[in-house]
Every structure is written in C-alpha cells, then in structure tokens.
Subunit: 245 residues, 2 copies
Amino acid sequence: MLELRSLPTDCAKRRQESVCSACGARAFSVCSSLDSSDLAGLDAIAERVTLKAGEALIREGDPAVHLFNITSGSVRIYKLLPDGRRQITGFLFAGDFVGLATGQDYAFSGEAIEDATLCRFRKTDYRALIRERPLLEEALLDRATHELAAAQNQMLLLGRKTAQERIASFLLDLPTRDPLRPSTEDQVRLPMTRSEIADYLGLTIETVSRVLTKLKTTGVIRLLSLNELRIEQPDRLRDIAEGEV
Amino acid sequence: MLELRSLPTDCAKRRQESVCSACGARAFSVCSSLDSSDLAGLDAIAERVTLKAGEALIREGDPAVHLFNITSGSVRIYKLLPDGRRQITGFLFAGDFVGLATGQDYAFSGEAIEDATLCRFRKTDYRALIRERPLLEEALLDRATHELAAAQNQMLLLGRKTAQERIASFLLDLPTRDPLRPSTEDQVRLPMTRSEIADYLGLTIETVSRVLTKLKTTGVIRLLSLNELRIEQPDRLRDIAEGEV
DNA sequence: CGAGCAGTTGATTTTTATCAAGTAGCGTGG
DNA sequence: CCACGCTACTTGATAAAAATCAACTGCTCG
C-alpha cells in the first residue's frame, strides 16, 4: 500500500523493498535507512482510495484532514485565482505524498490525471505515528526538503525562462519523476493534456503547441503520438533548457 | 543565538520565549511545543557568523556543509541561469533557516541584503542532533512544510499573475514575514532594491517602478521614501493581488 | 457518419521587456 | 559646506514575446 518511491538523487542500490501488510503493494524506502518495520505503522492507519481520471482528491480551502500517498497513477495539484486562472504546482506520481504542505486547511486542490490508487491517513494519526518513528519523520523531512528544491527550480523556470526553455526543462524533468516512464531511453510519456502542461509552465496551450512544433521541426524531438514523444537530441534540449542558445 | 521565529499562522500566545545559552539572543519556539531544552542542543553545535550587506553566505554548487539560522538582518536566496538571469526564490529574515532545502550540494546562492548575523551548524552535527530531539525535527518538518506552501503561492504568482497583481501580493506578504516591520500598521519596509524585487517577482526594474508609480497615483499606496511605503487602501490592494479588478 | 473535443496553426493585440534618457539622493573629497 | 559623481530609480519610446482571438484538423466515441 505505501510506496515511498526513491528520490531522484538516490542511487538505485540504496532502494530497499518492503511489502505493505495491509494491501500488498510494494513500498520502497526513501534514501535514509527506512525499512519494513517503519512502514508497518503507516500501513496500519492507512485506508485505500481509488480515483477515476479527473476526480478530486482534495479541494483548496477544505479542512486538511487527510494525507495521501500515491500508489499508482498520477495526480495534479493546483491553485486557482478567483477569475479561474490556474497554476498547476506539481504533477505527482506513485510514491509521492499529497498534503504534506498544508496547515489547518488545504492550500491547493488535487485531482487524478489518470485513474489512480492512493493510501489515505488521518493527519492526526500520522502525527502521532511519526512521533514514535523518528526514521519515518526523517524520511518525510528529506522528502519535503527535496520538494522545496524542486519548487525553487520551478520558480526559476516560471520567473525567468522563455517559453522554449520552459518546455525543454519540462521534457527533461518529467521522466525523472514518472515511475511509469517508458523503458526506452529518451522516450517521454505525457499523461497530461496540453492545457495542463500550459498551466504547469505558466503558458497558454497555443504556446505549448507552437513550441513543441518548433522543437519537432528543428529535429530536437519527435512526436510519436499526442501523449508520447522521443528526445532525438538530448544535448541540444539540455542546452535549450538552460538558455545556452 | 538560535531564534526560531513563530510561523505566520501561529497565534501570538503560542510563542514561547527562550534564551540561547551560547550568545544570549532570544529564541522563539515554532508552533509545536518546543522549549529551551530542545534548543540548547542546537546552541551547543552552533557558531556565530557576521555578514556585511552584500556578502555571500552560500554559493550554488558548493558542497552543502552548513545549515544556517538567521539571528538578525535579512538574506536573499537565488538561482542563476548561465547567461546571468536571476530568480530570487526567497527573502529570509531573523528566525528563518537557510540551507534546509539542499542535498549534497547547495542548489542556490545566499547573500546578505543588510548586515546580518547568523548561527551556523555543520549539517552532520545537526543530523545527529535532530535524531535525538524529535520535537526539533518536528519543528523543522513544520517549517519545511510552511515554506513549501509559500513556494506554491509564489509559483501561482510567477506563473499566472500580472505585474500589478505580483507587486500587490508582494507588498501584502512581505510585512508578515519581516520581524523588523515598522510598528505602524500598514507600513512596509523594503530592505531590498528594485532590482531584487524585480528578480523575486519575475519582472524588470522598470516594470516594478512603473507599477509602484501607478499604485501611488491611484492612491492605493504612498511612497514615504525609497525603502518605506504605506498601504493607504489595504482592501483595494488585496483585491488587486487576487485579480479582483 | 457526425458531434465534440483536443490540438494545431494563423492573424492580431496586449503585456512586458528592452533601449534610452533623464532625475534624485547620497557619500566623497575639495 | 558645496560640487561632483555615482548609483538607484523613474519615465518615455520602441520592440519582442506571448496571449488572445479565430479558423481549421484530426481523432474518438457514440
């Protein structure tokens, strides 16, 4: 049930597999030395939740009762302005936590992009549990810390990168976080729509479409289908992402 | 020496004052029940650091040896693109931690905006310490969590708000985080330059200047000096910040 | 087969950046 | 004390990037 996916900076060999007693899903430790016994407590207070594509998980402003861990599928979290403008602040995949960054009320909404399964904990239970399990807390702090670093990268992207640089950065970053990435090297799965990519990168769908077309025309990427593409020239894409053009 | 400033969501009465044995500076607990004895351990491994305005604290890419807590003054943290474009990802004040969001190497640079004093810990010492002090770790997790929520707000700002909305949001947010805010209600201290405001909001200095002039002209704010202004119409500024115009 | 939706492409507008020319405040040195 | 020059800031004119508006394509699903 609980699957703490290894963080991107981990080397694979530090992964430690364990099996959730409650639902049988595999659980991976994060980089610090967390093992099955540490996760067992979490499993005990977890409920399983199933969501169809598009269904809401949490809604901004609601009391933050639960904390979630994604078992399968993917989730978008976002914030809205009163007039409907949307900023997607993250795409989350199996192993990610949803709801860590909240106080009294949820500060963002979350919905399934694809069909998804999740583990749900009451925040109060989880608070009590992590007090007894310092290794679990350390793992969560580690994870929050990594998310913070990712958020800073995203601020750099949103504040200072051009449309082309944003798309390039996105195409390079996404597969590193998606556990379902195609096995083929440099192939990218896009489970989200153009509209979601636009709202994640602070652009419009038209601009996303135009930039993808341009990258295709210049031979940097190849569109395999609407939701799948291949990076033909990774070095060039990396240069574009960092503004080296 | 160590000053864990209360988080904005705290009610004042939950503040718990304690005095650092090493340097005499006051230390406040964060919202959870952290007291002097929990902080004492941190003091023991802390060194005092003094910085003049403009001096660097940490540099992106350097090994992340230290963790800092600001005792006085203010700090900017930022990331650069190869061509020099800068995104300031945060302004930090007394009580804030610098260096939480890092793995092996620092992922951002940090410099003093004004003269500042800080406490410095070796990360290894601090890691060892928080394992023994669950309340401290909980406080840090809490803080990381709040920073994550703030980062999401900033992503909404950078990705979807207009220049005017960004400035309005900034003017409303800054005083809530600056412990040196003027005692006069609705008065805002701007210890940073226009260039820093611009790099924090993803704008240029010219745009920042123009928007401030416009807000002044429409009577929403009054510029008292270059680095001090007063919000004349807080409700209207709040409306502008949320796009209700 | 056709409706509807996601995506693409094109023309135009808007916003903000860029380039350029001032102005104001401040510290320094005469 | 004042002139000088520096820097930060402001203001104006123009350019560029991306948004908006609009038309069209192609795919999926009933």
